[in-house]
Amino acid sequence: MKENKKNLGSAKNGTNHWWHQRVTAVALTFLCIWFIISLTVLTGATYQDAYNWLKHPLVTGLSILVVAFTIYHLSLGLQVIVEDYIHTEITKIITLMLINFSCLLIGLTCCLSILFVFFGGN
């Protein structure tokens, strides 16, 4: 079998994990600055203000990006921590599964809420 860097390492996925962590980090640097400023401006906002803000297509889009990148970055980061500190194989696998399911659930809930507002729910 041909050796290439794409399937090196114990997980056989080469540098993918490392690279994805960095790509999401760079994206989140800009997205988080936007998100922090937005939430700061929305401090104490009325329901209508918050609703109209989230409904704007640009905000809807950026919010989904914030959620998606955050959740992916989070699951990659937590995976490294789990792999560093949990050495029992079965505990490690179960913990990683729980992390991935929880992350997916949180991300999905956020995205559905954002899209619900965008498509004019309520």
Binding site: R22, L28, T29, I36, T43, S63, I71, G77, G121
Partner: protein, 131 residues
Amino acid sequence: MEKTRPLSPHLTIYRWQISMILSILHRITGVGLGIGTLMISYWFISIASGPKSYSTAQWFFDSIIGKILIFGFTLSLVFHLLNGIRHLFWDIGLGFEINTSKKSGWTVVILTFILTLAIWLSAFMIKKTYE
């Protein structure tokens, strides 16, 4: 894993220094922010659920516990963001010299407090305009 395998010296024998503290804090704030995503989710859900849920969420975020949680979240987010940028510079091979990394580390610490304070002061002033 074999219990008798040799271990590297335990962490506690090292003298505490800025580099290691920030490295550990990067992980701790990362986990904290992960838990904090629940707060952000709650906020999005409350907007989707209507004015009543939104005002309940607002009441919670305005409470003492809510404020403490959001302050911790802001502090962690600003730190993780700034220290993350520091990590990205290392990734492209910049700032590895001991003195440079110590200086960038302290810059991160100082900026974290300044920016967190700036965000909270702005938030307080903006909140006044809604009242």
